[in-house]
C-alpha cells in the first residue's frame, strides 16, 4: 500500500519527469477517474452525514448551555486528533475500508458544522422570535419558517468550510488505501519513482474540486435566500 515510497530510490536518473503531462492524464484516465469519483463520494457522504448529525446537536446545544459547552469541548478535542491518527483509531474496527475514512471525516466536519449551525441559530434576533411567538407560531413552525431561514447564512458558511476542508482531508485516507486523489499523489506519483505528473494532478484536482464545491454551495445559498438580493435591488 504505502511501502512503495521506501523502496523506489532506484532508477530515477534518466527517465523524464515533467511537472505536468497532459498525455499522462489521458493514458491513465481509466485508473484515475474511479479515484476522483471516490474522492467526491467520500466528501459528499461525510458532509451530508455530518450535517445530519450536527443539526440536531446544534438545536440541543442551543437549549442547554451546559450541553453546548460539552458539545463544543468534545468537538474541539476531536479536532486536535491528527488525521492520520484518527484513521488509525478507526481502522481496527472497520478495517481498510471507505467506512473508516468516512467516519473520520464526519467527525472532523462536525467540529465546523456544529459551531456554525449553533452560531447561525443564535444569530436570530430575540425580537424576531418574540414577534413570531406573538403571531402564534409554535416551536416547530417557528424553527422551519422563522429561525431556519434567518440562520441560513451561518449554516451555509459552515457547510462550505466543512466541504472545502473535507476535500483536502480525504487525501489522508491513503493510509488505509481509500484516499481518492491522495491515492493518485502517493501511489501513482510518489510510489512510482516520484513521478511528478500524478502528484501535480492530484494536488490541482483537490484544489479544483474544493473550489467547485464551494461555488456550488454559494449558488445554493443564493437560491435559498432570495430576500437578501431583493433587499439589495430595492
Amino acid at each position: 500500500m504505502l511501502s512503495a515510497a521506501s523502496g523506489a530510490v532506484l532508477a530515477a536518473d534518466a527517465a523524464p519527469n515533467p511537472w505536468f503531462d497532459v498525455s499522462w492524464v489521458g493514458d491513465n484516465w481509466s485508473t484515475i477517474m474511479p479515484l476522483v469519483g471516490q474522492h467526491v463520494r467520500l466528501t459528499v457522504v461525510s458532509v451530508v452525514i455530518g450535517a445530519l448529525i450536527a443539526f440536531p446537536l446544534a438545536l440541543l446545544a442551543r437549549r442547554a448551555r451546559g450541553l453546548a459547552a460539552a458539545v463544543l469541548g468534545l468537538s474541539t478535542f476531536v479536532y486536535t486528533i491528527p488525521s492520520l491518527a484518527m484513521f488509525a483509531f478507526i481502522a481496527p474496527f472497520t478495517g481498510l475500508s471507505e467506512t473508516t475514512v468516512a467516519i473520520g471525516l464526519v467527525l472532523y466536519s462536525l467540529v465546523v458544522l456544529v459551531r456554525n449551525f449553533l452560531a447561525g441559530l443564535q444569530a436570530v434576533p430575540e425580537e424576531v422570535r418574540e414577534a413570531a411567538r406573538g403571531m402564534g407560531y409554535g416551536a416547530g413552525r417557528m424553527l422551519l419558517r422563522v429561525e431556519l431561514p434567518l440562520a441560513l447564512p451561518g449554516i451555509m458558511a459552515g457547510l462550505r468550510i466543512a466541504t472545502v476542508s473535507t476535500v483536502a482531508l480525504v487525501t489522508v485516507g491513503v493510509i488505509v488505501g481509500q484516499g481518492g486523489l491522495g491515492q493518485v499523489i502517493i501511489v501513482n506519483g510518489f510510489g512510482a519513482n516520484y513521478y511528478r505528473p500524478p502528484i501535480v494532478f492530484g494536488t490541482l484536482g483537490c484544489v479544483v474540486l474544493a473550489l467547485v464545491a464551494d461555488q456550488l454551495l454559494a449558488v445554493v445559498e443564493r437560491l435559498l435566500t432570495p430576500w437578501t438580493r431583493q433587499g439589495v435591488a430595492a
Partner: protein, 240 residues
C-alpha cells in the same frame, strides 16, 4: 477491543521507547520538524501581520489566503516539496508545514491588532509615542491573547500534521502508525495514534499555559476557551 490492549502492551515495552528508531528518537525527530516549521512560520507571518493589522489593511486578502490554504491538501504540499530540488531532507516537511503555520498566525495576529480599541491608539499617540512604540507598547499587549491563539492553533496543527511526513519516509511518530499498518498489527497502529494525539494535546496545553502567563491584565483560567483555526476563520466568514 483487542487492539487497545495490544497498544498498551506495545507502549509498556521499554525497548519500543529506547531502541533504534524507537519512540523517543521518533518523538525527537517529530518535535524537531514541527519546531523548525513553527519558527519559519512565525518569522514569515508575524511581521507582515503586525504591519497590516497596525495599518488596518489587507483583511480581505488575509481572509482569501486562509480560505485557499484550507483547500490545499497538506499531503500534496509535503509531496511536492519532496520532489523538488529540496529532496528528501528534513527541509521538505519543514517548509511544507511552515506553509500551513502561516495562515492561522497571519489571520489571528491581524484580527488581534485590528480589534485594539482605536481610542487606545489615539491616546498612545497623544502621549507622544512613535509608530513603533504604539505597535509594541500599546497594541501588542492588547492583541496578545489573539496572537497567541493563532500561534497555538498553528502549533497544534503543525505537530499533528508532522505525522504525515512519515508517509514520505521522514521519521516521525507517524512512522509508528505506518509500521503498524505495514505489519497489519492494529495494536501498534493504535499505540502510534495515542502517542501523536498525546503530543498534540501536550503542545496545546503548553502553549495555552504560556498564553495565559504572558497575557497582561486579569488572569483567566487557562484552557477555558480553546478555538480552532477553522472555527476562527468560520467566525470571520460568518461575520462577513
Amino acid at each position: 477491543m483487542n487492539a487497545f490492549s495490544d497498544a498498551f502492551l506495545y507502549l509498556n515495552d521499554p525497548f519500543n521507547w529506547t531502541g533504534p528508531r524507537g519512540i523517543l528518537y521518533l518523538a525527537g525527530q517529530h518535535l524537531q520538524i514541527a519546531g523548525l516549521a513553527m519558527l519559519i512560520g512565525l518569522v514569515v507571518a508575524l511581521p507582515p501581520a503586525i504591519w497590516l493589522g497596525h495599518r488596518g489593511r489587507g483583511g480581505a486578502f488575509l481572509l482569501g489566503l486562509s480560505n485557499v490554504s484550507r483547500a490545499v491538501p497538506t499531503l500534496a504540499i509535503l509531496t511536492i516539496f519532496a520532489v523538488t530540488s529540496i529532496g528528501f531532507t528534513i527541509w521538505a516537511p519543514v517548509i511544507a508545514l511552515a506553509v500551513f503555520a502561516v495562515p492561522p498566525v497571519l489571520a489571528n495576529t491581524y484580527v488581534g491588532f485590528r480589534e485594539v480599541d482605536r481610542d487606545v491608539v489615539e491616546a498612545a499617540r497623544a502621549m507622544g509615542m512613535s509608530g513603533r512604540q504604539v505597535v509594541f507598547r500599546a497594541e501588542l499587549p492588547l492583541a496578545l491573547p489573539l496572537v497567541m491563539t493563532g500561534i497555538r492553533t498553528a502549533a497544534v496543527q503543525v505537530v499533528a500534521t508532522a505525522t504525515l511526513a512519515s508517509l514520505l519516509g521522514n521519521p516521525t511518530l507517524g512512522t509508528v502508525i505506518r509500521s503498524g499498518f505495514g505489519r497489519q498489527d492494529y495494536g501498534i497502529v493504535v499505540a502510534g495514534a495515542l502517542l501523536v494525539a498525546a503530543l498534540a494535546m501536550a503542545t496545546d496545553a503548553l502553549l495555552g499555559t504560556l498564553s495565559w502567563a504572558v497575557t497582561p491584565g486579569q488572569k483567566r483560567v487557562p484552557f477555558g476557551r480553546v478555538r480552532s483555526r477553522r472555527a476562527e476563520a468560520a467566525g470571520v466568514a460568518t461575520a462577513r
